[in-house]
């Protein structure tokens, strides 16, 4: 019962089972309510309601439900509808009465006829070709032509840029040839049709024998000189067209286009299956033979025997006995349930309710799902199992299959699938015995550790009960700290300077000279903290008697003061030793990277210490103390985790700050504190850790507590206080006299500290007269005026303004312009500094110290017009100025006003955006050599020396800088190498192994390639020159040319090149010596400055001047990184540039030694510009 034209895909699928898959006695398969179901015919009249009610989600059927009624999608009576054959209403010949007669209908019965009626138009002569002659009445040619229905238009050719979907097939599958045919032969065969990219001779997955199926892929031949471009698809088409029925060896082959290789896969699968079946049969036969040796020997073949002389082997043979097929396949319906055996294999389940379990269906199902990589299709009584590979890929495939096939039709049924991409959902994996053992072991281990810990803990508890009550502990700790402090003080103040003095380099000049040691270098910008020294000098660790190590002993010394925290996860964190009193940061001191001379380190350290005495902000000590102490003990104790998190957060914040800055960073958190911002405008750009204490207090007072900056500021403030406390303690110990009100009892401080910790918002000002003045001194502002002075100034300004009429007109404009804005401009400057205000509140009144100047002369101001205007403030100044320049002759400046204006405008033009006085000369930035006559054009043409050019040409400067940097690094490296005697290791060459490895791999690849070439040479028997040439070309490195610092152009590496690797061949015209001589003269005459002649041997010179590769741009250097070698390639001498050492990409220019003959006393020696360390000065 096939319904032609209704469902072509179904039709295509159902040649066999359509007769028995939907037996008339049974009910048709249920219809789901899914809209995707439209392709099926609705049969609502007899569909069971239960089936209709089912939704797509509920389609999963219980495994053992017995088969229900099935719904057929075709009407059971075989009537498809009715066709109106004759309608009297439309018949005009009848009268009105006759028209009322009922129309005649005819039922449309389904017929077995599969073919649609032929298109009648096709019967017209010349219809398809468009040559249809229209009969005209007259004799002449027809006026119009019939437009043919299948419009003959050229199909769009595939264009990779605009077309979607895969392009036309570029590969063909070949069958029917002798499986023993070699690849080379196949390749040779198909090379006739196009450029063959690959030949994949398919092999049997079981035994690796060739199957006689081959996938040949073509590639595009790009258009080049004399060669027309050929598309791979064209080649493939041609191969299909012309290759079919050609002979390879003795067999004729079949060639088919195979766009995605599916056909090939199918063929291979089929062949494999066939061979397997054959094997199985063979095995069975053998078994039977062993049982009954008299079995008749049907003819059996090995798996890889070609199936037929005409390539029919690839085609499935038509089943011989259709009738017995069902019986034959009955074994496919398995007796025992499959499901429990599937375990984790992904599978799709089609319950028997939807597709009846029939052994023949398995094959069809397989075909139906041929587009998916299923592994097996099995069926038992409950339904079909489409089993996929047990891997991620298989799972994906399962899902894909489910998505695309769920609820689609299989013949007249619906494949209602159940997707189990993770295998049997009810399958429980039983642990393997090894794993059980492992788990047991692990558990035992954990228990043991826990027990040990508990023991330790108990021990400690006992110890603590004996030794420690908290007060004693605290006191002890304090004593310890004091001691450390003392020791460090002694070191810094007493021992350090002493040592420093002893080690001062100028004291050892004689000794150094004697030992032939170079003088120590001057101080460089590299001021990395000498960590090794910091470590040993900076309090703590090894020298203090009772520091960390000596505490309470045992691993859990940290618990000395803290309460027991039951929440602490014991097992995992037990290995981490935390000392409450030690800063985390100190535990991991930065590793010393570069070794410095001992003296230098000492010196730096001392310097840093001096600074830190004042500020507590030095890079070594300051930060450490500040941050370490800023954390209240209790916090550290109780919540280790939280603390860690916080510290990490602050770190993060710091990192971000580098990018964004204070304001941006806090944008998200501080939504509405613009007021606070305005109040804190002066320190908004500072990091809280860099703020002064007063500023910090302000910040704390103004900002809300939730603000992150508040937290930071609070922390920093606490750091300050703690630092001060330590200082005070130290002072107390060392008896350094401090003002009595400063001296606070240490215990009091501790409590105070605690208070701070508990309510940090408190901003009590501790008086610290010792600190403020020092800070002031260090301030950058040199001019500061009290308010009083300001007032005076303002008054003076007013006076000058009022008295301006009396001043000479020339100076008038000068004075008026400046005086008025001056006070206004200065006032905000002063108000910006908050200390000033506070000071003012203290010292309001006349300064008692000593009289200060009203005006501070700023000698950095440049004396242009603005400068004079700035300097000359009143009449008196002007008079002084006049008297001082009296003896000088006045220049003719014409109108003074306009001259002054012009000067100002010139200055303004060249200093855009600057107002007021300038502190640098208005002059030309960067390289500038004035011309004697004033301008370059009036100067005339001069030859510019290369050395001069190097000063301003940007690319040269860049290269020069890079080179210097390299040399400096090399020097540094050398230095570290010498200091670390005995341990001669190389630093900064992390790149080296990788490059060598890469190059080694390259070379291996090259060797392989050469082998391949030689093999193919043997096989094809012929080999072009191109191949040989490629051998050299293949090894070429990626290089580019760019402006060079040495000479006009230079060559640069674009990839890392290992030592002894070939870089590039020096290509050019090959000329004889005589010709070269003539050319050289010619080039000299022409003034082609660079000679690109390269001698190979006595009579052969390569001239790359007019034609040649970019290798000619390689410059000379006295310490080159490349070398030129003359090698023989196939009998010709070639010049090839090799790397002398590893060359980094974009690092330096490629150079080699030109090896010109030395002409010591010649007049026309060529100066060398390589600028390397070992430069000999001349090329020749």
């Amino acid at each position: 019962m096939s319904y032609t034209g209704r469902h072509p895909s179904l039709h295509a699928l159902t040649p066999l089972t359509s007769t028995d898959s939907s037996p008339p006695g049974k009910l048709p398969s249920p219809r789901s309510a899914k809209p995707s179901h439209e392709t099926m015919y609705a049969t609502p009249h007899d569909a069971p309601s239960s089936a209709i009610a089912k939704t797509a989600a509920e389609t999963i059927t219980p495994v053992h439900t017995p088969p229900e009624a099935r719904i057929s999608i075709w009407p059971s009576d075989g009537k498809l509808g009715q066709r109106l054959y004759y309608d009297p209403m439309m018949d005009e010949k009848l009268d009105s009465r006759a028209r009322r007669a009922p129309p005649t209908y005819k039922e449309i019965l389904e017929k077995g006829d599969p073919s649609p009626p032929p298109d009648p138009r096709l019967a017209i002569v010349g219809y398809t070709s468009g040559k249809y002659p229209i009969k005209t009445v007259g004799a002449g040619p027809p006026k119009s032509r019939l437009r043919i229905a299948p419009y003959v238009a050229k199909t769009y050719s595939f264009d990779p840029r605009i077309s979607c979907g895969p392009g036309p097939a570029t590969q063909v599958v070949v069958t029917g040839f002798d499986p023993l045919t070699s690849d080379a032969q196949l390749r040779a065969f198909f090379t006739a049709y196009g450029d063959v990219e690959s030949v994949k001779n398919q092999i049997h997955p079981d035994n690796g024998s060739f199957l006689g199926i081959c996938l040949v892929k073509f590639r595009d031949i790009p258009a080049s000189r004399g060669v027309v471009a050929v598309k791979a698809s064209t080649s493939a088409k041609r191969a299909e067209r012309e290759g079919t029925n050609q002979r390879i060896g003795l067999q004729t082959v079949k060639v088919h286009c195979d766009r995605e290789g599916r056909r090939c896969t199918r063929l291979v699968n089929y062949a494999v299956e066939q061979s397997r079946k054959g094997e199985e049969k063979l095995r069975a036969k053998l078994a039977a033979k062993s049982a009954t040796p008299a079995a008749p020997g049907t003819f059996d073949l090995p798996a890889n025997v070609p199936k037929g002389p005409s390539g029919k082997g690839a085609r499935p043979p038509p089943p011989r006995e259709t009738l017995s097929r069902k019986a034959q396949l009955a074994f496919l319906v398995e007796k025992e349930p499959i499901k429990p055996k599937l375990k984790r294999k992904p599978y799709l389940f089609i319950a028997h309710q939807y597709v009846p379990v029939l052994s023949t269906t398995v094959d069809h199902l397989k075909k139906r799902l041929k587009n998916y990589h299923w592994k097996d299709v099995r069926c038992d009584q409950t339904g079909y199992y489409v089993i996929f590979e047990e891997s991620k890929r298989g799972e994906d495939e399962t899902v894909r299959c489910y998505k695309e096939c769920h609820m689609l039709a299989l013949f007249t049924y619906v494949m209602n699938m159940e997707c189990n991409q993770y295998g049997d959902p009810s399958y429980e994996r039983s642990p393997s015995p090894e794993r059980v053992m492992q788990q047991k072991r692990r558990k035992a281990e954990e228990e043991r550790i826990a027990g040990e810990e508990a023991e330790d803990w108990d021990l400690e508890k006992r110890q603590r009960a004996e030794v420690a009550d908290p007060v004693a502990g605290a006191i002890e700790k304090l004593e310890e700290e004091l001691l450390e402090r003392m020791i460090s003080e002694i070191r810094q103040r007493v021992a350090g300077p002493e040592l420093l003095q002893l080690m001062a380099p100028d004291r050892h000049v004689a000794k150094r000279r004697r030992l032939n040691i170079p003088d120590p270098l001057e101080k460089q910008e590299d001021t990395r903290p000498p960590a090794a020294m910091t470590l040993s000098l900076d309090t703590y660790t090894p020298l203090t008697p009772r520091s960390r190590g000596a505490g309470f002993g045992g691993r859990h010394g940290r618990k000395a003061l803290g309460p027991y925290d039951p929440n602490r996860p014991r097992g995992k964190k037990s290995l981490k030793v935390v000392n409450a009193f030690a800063d985390e940061r100190r535990k991991a001191p930065p590793k010393p990277r570069a070794a410095h001379s001992l003296f230098r380190r000492m010196e730096e350290l001392m310097k840093a210490d001096e600074e830190s005495d004042d500020e507590g902000q030095s890079p070594h000590t300051g930060r450490d103390t500040q941050e370490q102490e800023s954390r209240p003990i209790s916090v550290v104790e109780s919540s280790d985790e939280e603390d860690d998190e916080e510290s990490s957060r602050t770190h993060r914040a710091k990192r971000r700050r580098l990018v964004a800055g204070w304001g941006e960073e806090s944008d998200d958190e501080m939504m509405d504190d613009s007021h606070a911002r305005s109040l804190l405008a002066h320190c908004i750009h500072k990091d809280p850790e860099n703020m002064a204490e007063k500023e910090l207090e302000q910040v704390i007072a103004i900002l809300p507590r939730s603000s992150p900056i508040w937290k930071k500021a609070d922390k920093a403030l606490k750091g300050f206080r703690r630092l001060r406390k330590i200082e005070q303690e130290a002072d107390a110990i060392f008896g350094v006299e401090t003002p009595p009100e400063d001296k606070l009892d240490p215990i009091v401080i501790v409590t105070h500290e605690d208070e701070d910790a508990s309510k940090p918002i408190q901003t009590t000002e501790l008086p610290e007269p010792g600190k403020v003045p020092t800070k002031k001194k260090s301030g950058p502002k040199s001019k500061r005026k009290t308010k009083k002075q300001l007032e005076e100034e303002a008054k003076a300004a007013q006076v000058s303004v009022t008295e301006i009429t009396e001043i000479t007109p020339a100076a008038e404009s000068v004075v008026t312009e400046v005086e008025e804005p001056k006070p206004a401009a200065q006032a905000p400057v002063i108000e910006e500094t908050p200390e000033e205000d506070e000071r003012a509140s203290v010292n309001w009144g006349v300064s008692t110290i000593e009289p200060r100047r009203t005006v501070d002369d700023d000698f950095s101001v440049v004396m242009d017009i603005d400068g004079w205007q700035h300097l000359v403030k009143d009449e008196e100044d002007l008079a002084h100025l006049k008297s001082s320049v009296q003896h000088m002759a006045a220049a003719k400046i014409g109108d003074a006003q306009s001259w002054a204006w012009k000067q100002k405008s010139i200055k303004h033009l060249n200093r855009p955006g600057e107002e007021g006085v300038s502190r640098t000369e208005t002059k030309i930035e960067g390289y500038y050599v004035p011309n004697a006559t004033g301008s370059a054009r009036t100067e005339g043409v001069k030859k510019i020396r290369e050395a001069e050019k190097s000063k301003y040409l940007p690319h040269r400067i860049r290269v020069q800088k890079e080179r210097e940097e390299r040399q400096r690094q090399a020097k540094q490296q050398e230095r570290t190498m010498t200091t670390v005697e005995g341990f001669k290791f190389q630093t900064g060459s992390g790149l080296k192994p990788s490059t060598t490895a890469a190059s080694r791999a390259n070379r291996a690849n090259n060797r392989r390639l050469v082998n391949d070439i030689s093999i193919s040479k043997n096989m094809t028997g012929a080999e072009g020159d191109a191949l040989r040439f490629n051998q050299l070309k293949k090894r070429k490195k990626l290089v580019k040319f760019d402006r060079s610092a040495i000479h006009n152009w230079g060559l640069y590496a674009q990839e890392n090149i290992a030592a002894n690797d070939m870089i590039i061949e020096y290509v050019g015209e090959q000329v004889r010596q005589r010709v070269a001589d003539l050319r050289e003269v010619k080039y000299d005459m022409q003034g082609v400055g660079s000679s690109y002649l390269f001698r190979i041997d006595e009579d052969t010179v390569i001239d790359a001047t007019n034609m040649g590769g970019i290798a000619r741009f390689i410059n000379h250097s006295c310490t080159p990184n490349c070398t030129a070698k003359i090698i023989r390639v196939d009998g010709t001498k070639r010049i090839v540039i090799y790397a002398l050492r590893d060359i980094n990409q974009a690092d330096e220019e490629l150079t080699y030694d030109y090896k010109f003959e030395r002409e010591m006393d010649a007049t026309d020696r060529i100066p060398c510009l390589c600028g390397s360390v070992g430069c000999k000065g001349f090329l020749n």
Partner: protein, 448 residues
């Protein structure tokens, strides 16, 4: 003012060379007899004004008035007849054919001597509308003069070092200047104010600049060997053309702005595509003498280049790899970077106009050559030191020159015969503008 005694070193070419008026290109020697319609029909001197607003109109007119084949044949017969006549008699042009015959000499006479610059004048330029003359000098100033009256209109100050080059925008409102202080500045000529943002980017003296005809681009050549293409609006470098290995001594835009020519002391002249920055052509003379200045011909088909071997060469950069078609000699140029211009002469309508090349000389002369015959048409003396720059008025028969003697001189062609012109010159000395350079105030920023 024609200096007869001082004849050019090369033999005076017979007039049969310029068989077809100024209908260029100047033919090769061997090809001088070929029919003229074998060559392109653009006239070299066809465009009297450079980059003027009436660009299209001009060209249209010239195309329209292209000589018909009839007139061409006529002219050929004329030139043949002329070749038979003695070349030594300049004042006997054949009177056949309409319009005046080609004069063999020109009579430019000095009209103004403009003093005011305190150091050598490095460049002078007429504005495209012909109203102004701009001159720049090593004294860091640019002066704008009225072209007709010689009155000083503005002194533009703002550069910190001597100025080597100036260029007018096509609308005559903006002047660009390139200075030793490595910057290029734009000036509003009407107000005399500088544009606040200079073009900064060069690493050494800016030596040569040129505006694109539309005025949206500016090309500059510098001592740092780079040619920069600037976006005038954004004051940014659009493109850097790296090709020379010595100071770039001259740059110019072709009339439609699609090509740039640059030359360098390394002896190369390169033609660039403005849009892509590709080098389209490299012109090298075999002597490889340093090229100091280069301009496009007004019709854009040739390139005129000054080299330090005392030659001015006209290159056809279109044909083949580019070839030198004419070499003008007779001046001295061994050290300085001289610049010149194309001009037209002949009284009649365009078919009777011819082109000449004007160039300064280090001897203080100004030399005018006929483009096609290479004859010296006039040799003007007056400057006391090398004449660095000469420019022609876009429409009138005016010439301006500036040199190391710190003067700017305006010359005007007198129609009268040379004798009377000489007399007139003797009778009426050229007017000066009465400026004394010493009275001007010094610029303190100028590097000494």
């Amino acid at each position: 003012m024609v200096d007869r005694r001082n004849s050019p070193p090369k033999r005076r070419r017979d007039d049969h060379d310029n068989h077809d008026d100024c209908d260029s290109p100047p033919p090769k020697r061997s090809a001088s007899r070929t029919p003229p319609n074998a060559s392109p029909q653009y006239r070299l001197a066809a465009r009297p004004r450079r980059y003027s607003g009436q660009d299209g109109e001009d060209s249209r007119r010239y195309y329209r008035e292209e000589p018909s084949p009839r007139s061409r044949s006529q002219s050929r017969t004329r030139s043949e007849s002329r070749s038979r006549s003695t070349p030594d008699r300049p004042s006997t042009p054949p009177q056949r054919g309409p319009g005046p015959a080609k004069p063999t000499e020109l009579h430019y006479t000095p009209t103004f001597i403009l003093r005011g610059h305190k150091k050598g004048v490095s460049a002078v330029k007429f504005s495209p509308d012909g109203r102004w003359i701009a001159s720049c000098s090593a004294d860091c100033t640019i002066k704008i003069w009225d072209a007709r009256t010689g009155k000083l209109e503005h002194t533009l100050e703002g550069h910190l070092a001597g100025i080597s080059t100036i260029a007018w925008s096509h609308d005559s409102k903006i002047l660009a200047s390139g200075s030793d202080d490595k910057s290029i500045r734009l000036w509003d000529v009407s107000t005399g104010m500088a544009h606040p943002t200079p073009f900064i980017g060069h690493h050494n003296y800016v030596y040569s600049i040129a505006f694109s005809p539309k005025g949206n681009m500016l090309v500059s050549g510098s001592y740092d060997e780079a040619v920069f293409l600037w976006d005038v609006r954004a004051a940014r470098v659009m493109r850097s053309l790296p090709a020379h290995s010595d100071p770039v001594s001259g740059v110019d835009f072709v009339r439609d702005g699609t090509l740039i020519v640059s030359c360098s002391h390394d002896g190369l002249i390169r033609v660039w595509d403005t849009a892509t920055g590709q080098c389209l052509r490299t012109l090298v003379h075999e002597d490889n003498a340093p090229v100091t200045s280069v301009i496009f011909s007004p019709n854009g088909k040739y390139v005129l280049a000054w080299t330090l071997d005392s030659c001015v060469r006209l290159w056809n950069y279109i044909e083949g790899k580019g070839k030198c078609v004419k070499t003008y000699q007779g001046h001295k140029n061994t050290n300085h970077s001289l610049a010149g211009a194309f001009g037209t002469y002949g009284g009649g309508p365009p078919p009777h106009q011819w082109a000449f090349v004007a160039s300064g000389s280090e001897s203080g002369d100004i030399v005018l050559w006929d483009v096609s015959s290479k004859n010296v048409l006039q040799r003007l003396s007056g400057h006391t030191d090398a004449v660095l720059s000469v420019d022609m008025h876009p429409t009138e028969k005016l010439m301006v020159s500036g040199g190391l003697d710190r003067t700017v001189r305006i010359w005007k062609e007198s129609i009268s015969p040379p004798q009377s012109a000489l007399e007139a010159a003797a009778a009426e000395p050229p007017r000066t503008n009465g400026f004394d350079p010493e009275i001007l105030p010094p610029n303190p920023f100028a590097a000494a």
